[in-house]
Symmetry: C2
Subunit: 214 residues, 2 copies
């Protein structure tokens, strides 16, 4: 038995349920999208489905640091679906600036296809969550994006900089990419800067800081 056969049986019962189960079975592919950062224990690369879970829990747990204008439950929903487009578009490495330029068209086509599997009302709702995230204009989207920067930074640091070392990443690159963490909370950004500084001190992140104290 395969996805199509299940969807056909569900569609016989109710057309909308068939479409919803097709979507749910389709997004199972997110578990096979491999990211560039490793798990805390360094044993393997993280996949995008478990990354999305970690971010949604992080939104719950770090909610006390959010400003009053952040809708934390909406941020959770955004984070659960923000990377589903990677099923078609694959993960784009944060530090690959060339790939980042081509990303938008690929991801928009993916959003059309994958969200389009759903009944129209739900397709529009998921698209609005994804569009809000991509635009980074609302406090809620900026809170979500800050978490999407903070979580891999923490995993990279905790796994002794495995991914930074594998890719020859330097302190100035991480500082530029992770600056939006401050939009989640200035306190997170203080901690992130402490961690990045210590990582450069320890040699697990390339040290190109303009001045290094003795």
């Amino acid at each position: 038995m395969d996805q199509q056969e299940i969807v056909a049986m569900a569609t016989d019962r109710a057309v909308d349920l068939g479409r919803r189960l097709d979507f749910l079975l389709e997004i199972d592919k997110l578990k096979a999208i491999v990211r560039r950062n490793r798990l805390v224990d360094g044993s393997r690369y993280e996949n995008t489905a478990e990354h999305s879970w970690h971010l949604a829990v992080a939104a719950m747990i770090l909610a006390p640091d959010a400003g009053p204008e952040v809708d934390v439950l909406r941020a959770m929903e955004i984070l659960l679906v923000h990377d589903i487009v990677e099923i078609d578009a694959d993960d784009t490495y944060t530090y690959d600036t060339e790939a980042q330029r081509h990303k938008q068209a690929l991801e928009t086509a993916a959003a059309e296809r994958v969200f389009g599997l759903l009944p129209e009302v739900q397709a529009l709702r998921l698209r609005s969550l994804w569009d809000e995230y991509e635009a980074r204009e609302t406090p809620t989207a900026r809170f979500a994006y800050a978490l999407d920067r903070l979580q891999p930074l923490l995993l990279n640091a905790a796994s002794d900089g495995a991914s930074w070392r594998e890719n020859g990443i330097t302190h100035s690159q991480t500082a530029a990419v992770n600056g939006p963490i401050v939009d989640g909370s200035p306190l997170w950004w203080d901690v992130a800067q402490d961690v990045l500084g210590r990582a450069a001190d320890n040699g697990i992140l390339g040290d190109d800081r303009p001045e290094v104290r003795d």
Copy 2:
């Protein structure tokens, strides 16, 4: 650099943030807890972190089938944290009735330790989500539990019954275990019964139905 060093730096900035980051890094271990069902493509077993992501998205997508007394956003929160205890207690196979009997004490100890990493207010909140799920007394908890039965059923069926065949599972066993799907929606249970019947017809699920039509 490791988890302890990061937590120490965060604690120097703010004690509560240190505890929250300790919890977030600790639950990374859920990505290494392996379940008994396979992904849709059959390529490997699912882990509990990506399973939790899939369930939270399923709650969003299947919300239109929920009764008016179900708090779907709370169900999402429940599903994101309901299996975190497996970090210490491991996954218990649904069809292993002996292991199921020992599960409760192990999981309660795990809840004490892992949720206890958090600041007290948050520890109590996560414990209340987990307790609500375990008690299955509220419509919201029963909706969440129905999804936790429906999702692996769909993955098992879509992967051509790989996990059922590996473990010699029969139709009557799946019917007994999956009955609570009806609490999520009678429509889901109709579809589940169609799928289980077809699986038994196809021989990917042991056929011990009392009467089988020609």
